[in-house]
Amino acid sequence: MKVSHPMSLIPFLFMNPKAWRRSALVLACCAVASWAQAALPIQHWTQPSGVRVYLVESHAIPMVDVQIDIDAGSRRDPAAQAGLASVMAGQIASGTRAHPKGQGPYAQAMDENQIGEAWADLGASFGVSAGADRMSFALRSLSYPDLLDKAVALAARQMAHPAFPEAIWARDRERLSAAIRESLTKPANVVQQRFASAVYGTHPYGYRSTPETLSRIGVQDLQNLHAQSLQACRASVSVVGALSRAQTDALVTRLLSLWPNTAACKTLPTVPEVASLSSAQDLNVPFDSAQAHVLMGQPGYKRNDPDFFALLVGNHILGGGGFVSRLTEQVREKRGLSYSVYSYFSPGLHAGAFTVGLQTRPDQAAQAVAVAKDVVQAFVREGPTEAELQAAKSNLVGGFALRIDSNRKLLDNVANIAWNRLPLNYLDSWTQQVGRVSVADVRRAMARVLQPERMVTVVVGAPAP
């Protein structure tokens, strides 16, 4: 794995507003606008292996993006081995064992450097990442057949035949452990860690890797997780690029050709739901920093919640709409207390957190927390005004096209539909769904999901109260 580059930490330019706003784990996405009435043509079919394929043809640029999602996110990590899914994802690049039948252009065993060189030589990229719910394989290549064929062959080999060399994992465990220790010298990471464990309790959404949990992960664990994860019947493949349906079908077949042949789809263990909080909790963590970092929130809602659109619009007004949200207005614009202040939901297969965040000079922390709490309480109690609702709808509906105006953004949206099994016309009906939301819908949904009197508030780096 390539550890992130220290050089990239140089503060090269200073953006004004809300570049710092965190986006939700699963971005909702979008549909409509005059041209989308013609519908965004998502083609969908299921291959004999059971894999569900989703395609948007886009022929303007000779490139292809492919994302494969499987049910192997970190929510399945054992508590004692928190980080297991992420580690496995990272170690996919650490080496590939020889092809059992010696077939194809990359049949020989490859070490991590040979893999890196091979991708560079193709001008293509292949990455693996583990989120809370899904593990994702992402391939980007030019669509020229000679290059694309090789890229598909290499990706297929890496996915199916990782070597998981002992020495590489031992080295990367040291690097990761050191990076974790380093990260905890920064208030932004400490507050995240404390917030996650307070909101999620024992639920896996709250797990954080530590040097101790990494020390309990061995290469056998990686092999075991890998063996149980590659099930075509549970996978979705999303493709955006300069390919026809027939070409895509052939590409997906080759990408997954080395996966185990699963006649019967094995069921995976059920992951419990996130428990709601029984009382408010205020944590004040002493820390030597120039700012106090504040996170406030609680478990939110699941992605399949019927009020998804009311909650999307509601959070947009409360703290998701950048400059024009209530939180930004009250904390930043009116009082100058924080550069960045935001709220977001993280709906997933389970009720991901609702989070309000800000950072401020330590002596102002109590004031900023009080203002943010007031804003959240008032919004949950009273809901938005009609004018706020209309402004939010104008922005969301009017700006819908901005959510799908590149292959990269389309891929995110198609993968969202595929993973969450949303209807194929989801994007086409998105603006209508937003347009239907009323003030009463927002007030009812926010009041159902949020309990300001039972939220967690974590403040790192403020003076003792």
Binding site: M7, N16, P17, I61, G116, F287, A290, S338
Partner: protein
């Protein structure tokens, strides 16, 4: 990771840095097209100059009914003077605070109501403002942007509040980030006369002392039509955009752009070293070598060297498994947890070639410093292989196609080009030039630019955290 949008591009974190030279604005009249060679799929940029000297660059991309509209000024933190460092960035924040016909914050509310998103950014070389919008709202944002470009106005109370926001931004990005602070110190140590020595966000004491008048003066001095370009990319017709630009921007009275003092950096005559103590677990070392910059695309020995240095950085660190990573982060006695190489290449001010790394547990930053230099020495002695060069060039050529996927990035590239005095098709031209670099040239620059005399070394010395809140100095500029 920091969502710092200029750092997102692989090829071009290095290349976007920035530089000056007064490459003339394109001629008036009929749109002049710059056709990138070998890019049939890519639309062409159309360049115009308005009657008041303001430039207009337009790049159609009709894939979706959206557009991005930007105004870039050839003014950034390097145009500030001591005592008011950070004023270019503070002013950028104040552009959101109104005009005689628009209340504070109303600009963003209007853009949001149009379905748009807006933001702005400040760098050493330039300042930029942008809106991403449905393309049928282009006229509305051009009207808004032209209004604040010409008529930005706000009460002192708005300035006082926003200055506190900017100080919070400095605390967030720099003061609680030891490596960012180290780089701030590195610039201040490696440079003496060049304004690049000051941080973009400004020193805290300069922010404490900044007045509303400082921002207004900077605005009057630099926000002239002759010092700016309007960039539009997306689902637009260039001639219609030209008509709108004439209407909204063309009428803004022009003013002469102030003379820019050269403030040349004197030649460095010996190694400089600095140590920085901060709360951290890991040490960190960075080496900055002064190198030539690519001031234009004209052929010259210095420009050829600048290009070869960029190829050298890519050979050292351009892909997973490249030389530095392989030599220093792998194996039994590995020295580092991470390493990097980066060539500045372009900018209005002096450029550096950086080597940096985080020592592995039990290894010293000094040992890593020596090992990083040794890797460059290896190239100087042994050269690089054709396979390595082919590999990094393949990646650049592919990246020229991938970048077409983002309308925003295409507009940004145009803005960078104009502020640095480069032509609109400099991207593909640059790739073509990089492809011509030979192994011998890479070896030659490795031999030429990595001695002690132009080097500054910065080392972060980790200190244990106290675990307790920091004792606060008296806070100035208290707020209501």
């Amino acid at each position: 990771m920091k969502p710092n949008f200029l750092l997102g591009l692989s090829l071009s974190a290095a290349m976007l840095a920035s530089s000056c030279s007064a490459w003339a604005q394109a001629p008036q009249g009929q749109p002049k097209t710059a056709a990138p060679p070998g890019q049939a799929a890519a639309a062409q940029a159309h360049t115009f100059t308005l009657a008041n000297g303001m430039a207009l660059w337009v790049k159609p991309d009709r894939r979706a009914p959206t557009a991005v509209h930007m105004v870039w000024l050839r003014v950034g933190s390097m145009d500030e003077v001591d005592g008011t460092s950070g004023v270019a960035h503070v002013l950028e924040h104040m552009l959101f605070k109104g005009t005689p016909s628009l209340a504070a914050g109303e600009f963003s509310r209007r853009v949001a109501a149009l379905g748009g998103r807006d933001n702005a950014f400040t760098a050493k070389d330039y300042t930029g403002y942008f809106q991403q919008i449905p393309s049928d709202q282009l006229e509305a944002v051009m009207r808004l942007e032209a209004d604040r470009f010409a008529n930005n106005q706000w009460p002192d109370a708005e300035f006082a509040k926003e200055l506190e926001v900017v100080k919070e931004e400095r605390r967030l990005r720099t003061e609680d980030n030891p490596r960012a602070q180290l780089h701030e110190m590195l610039s201040a140590t490696a440079l003496t006369a060049s304004p690049y020595r000051r941080p973009i966000v400004g020193w805290m004491s300069d922010l404490d002392a900044m007045t509303a008048q400082d921002a207004r003066d900077f605005y009057r001095k630099w926000y002239s039509p002759a010092n700016a370009v309007v960039v539009v990319a997306g689902d637009v017709d260039p001639l219609q955009v030209k008509a709108l630009a004439d209407q909204y921007y063309g009428a803004i009275p022009t003013r002469a752009v102030p003379e820019r003092k050269p403030r040349e950096e004197p030649a460095q005559q010996g190694v400089r070293r600095l140590e920085f103590k901060a709360p951290a677990e890991q040490s960190y070392v960075t080496l900055a070598f002064k190198v030539p910059r690519l001031a234009s695309l004209a052929a010259s020995p210095e420009h050829d060297d600048a290009l070869a240095l960029t190829v050298l950085a890519a050979v050292l660190d351009g892909y997973s498994g490249a030389r530095l990573e392989r030599a220093l982060t792998q194996g039994e006695n590995r020295l580092a947890d991470s390493v990097g190489a980066h060539n500045g290449l372009m900018g209005r001010g002096p450029q550096f070639f950086y080597l940096d790394g985080v020592p592995a547990k039990g290894q010293s930053p000094e040992a890593l410093e020596a090992a990083l230099r040794n890797q460059v020495q290896r190239v100087a002695t042994e050269g690089v292989t054709e396979a390595e060069l082919r590999r990094v060039k393949t990646q650049w050529v592919a990246s020229e196609i991938y970048k077409l996927d983002s309308v925003f990035n295409q507009a940004r590239e145009l803005g960078v080009a104009w502020t640095l005095g480069l032509p609109p098709d400099y991207g593909p031209q640059l790739i073509a030039r990089l492809r011509q670099v030979t192994p011998a040239q890479v070896q030659a620059v490795a031999q030429k630019y990595f001695g002690d005399d132009s080097l500054t070394v910065a080392i972060l010395r980790p200190q244990a955290l106290s675990g307790q809140p920091r004792a606060r100095r008296a806070v100035s500029g208290a707020r209501h």
